[in-house]
């Protein structure tokens, strides 16, 4: 019975995450901690497995369609992996209540981003490459550029990627809320490419930290297996529903869910504070 509920919850997280371009990770930790009483750190470990699953197939499709930029993704994921390594170690050094509090902050940030039609919205297929005010770039930047756009400020992007990796490892999310704006607004990557490339990077970012959670005994195989299947099915369904669902209504509903979850995570943090 409980397995069915967990799979259903994971499925809903997968559907909503897929429709809104967020991945399911942001809903999985609140679901597991608030809904099923799992420890925050274990919920983060399980969530990391889920975000690898949801990003895997989608990233494969993006690569086959030549939307994701492999060179850019690999270069930046070296830094997200370093951040994830640091974040994974930090997660075991700080109190669980602090992780819950940080998660609440991230939920509010995600809600505000969504209300402002921020970086989480997938760009239309017809989007043109961004215009560039910067002078022509050389070296790594030109190697990482794609058809119709030039990548700039690789150093800044690398720093932002380290931050995205830390956030991912600490909170069990894909980190797209950080990576997509960094790539799009800072590095000049078209939104659609940035979203697809961010998706590609999630696998390695989450693997770096999931390995730490795995070997430190913070991945619950029963929860991870059950919710992982649900999230995968939900994300697959969501990608097929994308053109049939009123996204504006869904986004509004999602903002409410995010803010409610943030409040509950704050209460959880206060309850578990030492």
């Amino acid at each position: 019975m409980e397995a069915g509920l967990i799979m259903l919850g994971g499925g809903l997280a997968g559907v909503v995450g897929s429709l809104l371009g967020l991945g399911g990770g942001i809903l999985i930790v609140p679901l597991l901690t608030l809904g099923f009483g799992l420890d925050v750190r274990t919920a983060v470990g399980v969530s990391l497995v889920c975000v690898i699953i949801t990003s895997g197939a989608a990233a494969g499709v993006y690569l086959e369609r030549h939307v994701a930029n492999l060179r850019l993704g690999m270069t930046l994921e070296l830094f997200t992996a370093l951040g994830a390594l640091a974040g994974g170690l930090i997660a075991f050094a700080i109190d669980e209540a602090l992780i819950a509090g940080l998660f609440a902050v991230m939920l509010v940030y995600a809600a505000v981003s969504m209300m402002r039609r921020g970086p989480t919205e997938t760009a239309p297929a017809t989007e043109l490459p961004t215009t560039h005010e910067e002078p022509r770039v050389e070296g790594w930047s030109s190697r990482l550029s794609g058809e119709g756009y030039e990548v700039r400020r690789v150093g800044t992007g690398a720093v932002g990627s380290v931050g995205a990796g830390v956030v991912s490892a600490l909170l069990g999310v894909g980190g797209g809320l950080v990576k997509v704006p960094v790539m799009h607004l800072v590095m000049g990557v078209p939104l659609r490419v940035a979203t697809a490339t961010s998706n590609l990077m999630i696998g390695i970012t989450a693997t770096a930290s999931a390995s730490i959670y795995l070997f430190r005994g913070e991945i619950d195989a029963y929860f991870a297996g059950t919710i992982g299947i649900g999230v995968f099915l939900g994300a697959t369904l969501g990608s097929r529903l994308a053109h049939r669902v009123p996204i504006a209504v869904l986004r509004l509903l999602f903002v409410v869910v995010l803010l409610y979850s943030a409040l509950q995570m704050v209460l959880l943090a206060l309850e578990r504070a030492p």
């Binding site: 409980e2 397995a3 967990i6 099923f36 497995v49 690898i52 699953i53 895997g56 197939a57 990233a59 494969g60 499709v61 993006y62 690569l63 086959e64 030549h66 994701a68 492999l70 060179r71 690999m74 270069t75 994921e77 070296l78 992996a81 370093l82 994830a84 390594l85 994974g88 170690l89 075991f92 790594w140 190697r143 696998g203 390695i204 989450a206 693997t207 770096a208 930290s209 999931a210 390995s211 730490i212 795995l214 070997f215 430190r216 005994g217 991945i219 619950d220 195989a221 029963y222 929860f223 991870a224 297996g225 059950t226 919710i227 992982g228 299947i229 995968f232």
Partner: protein, 133 residues
């Protein structure tokens, strides 16, 4: 009219073909790896339920020494861990294939990036094991 249609976006540079080829190969690997991992997890969850187990029961710790025997005996723990390891191994496999692909094309900068990523993953595993023990 000859009936011949022009492709609107044919790759023009010589390098476009291998780059697209590598993208395609990695894309296939990611899709196949993810589906295979989820299939194994599904078998594991069915075995878990068939044995009267479920989320909320004391979960087995990851024990590499027992993994082989558990898988061969088709125990739910072994199947679930195999599926979870397949999930984690898929992105790592993607980087390995990228490394080989870029090495084949003599793109040494990307070979170095791929090798460094694998180094970070290895370091995270070593640190986790060291700290746990």
């Amino acid at each position: 009219m000859t009936g011949r249609h022009e492709e609107p976006r044919q790759p023009t540079a010589d390098e476009a073909t291998p780059r697209i080829g590598l993208d395609h190969a990695i894309g296939r690997l990611l899709i196949f790896g993810t589906y295979a991992a989820v299939a194994i997890l599904t078998v594991g969850v069915i075995a878990m339920a068939a044995n009267g187990l479920g989320p909320g029961d004391p979960a087995p710790a990851f024990d590499p020494a027992r993994l082989g025997a558990d898988i061969l005996a088709l125990r739910p723990d072994g199947l679930l861990w195999l599926g979870l390891l397949a999930v984690i191994a898929t992105p790592i496999g993607r980087v390995v294939v990228s490394l080989v692909g870029y090495a084949h094309r003599r793109e040494l900068s990307m070979v170095a990036v791929a090798a460094a990523i694998l180094g970070v993953i290895a370091l995270s595993i070593i640190l986790a094991i060291t700290l746990e023990s």
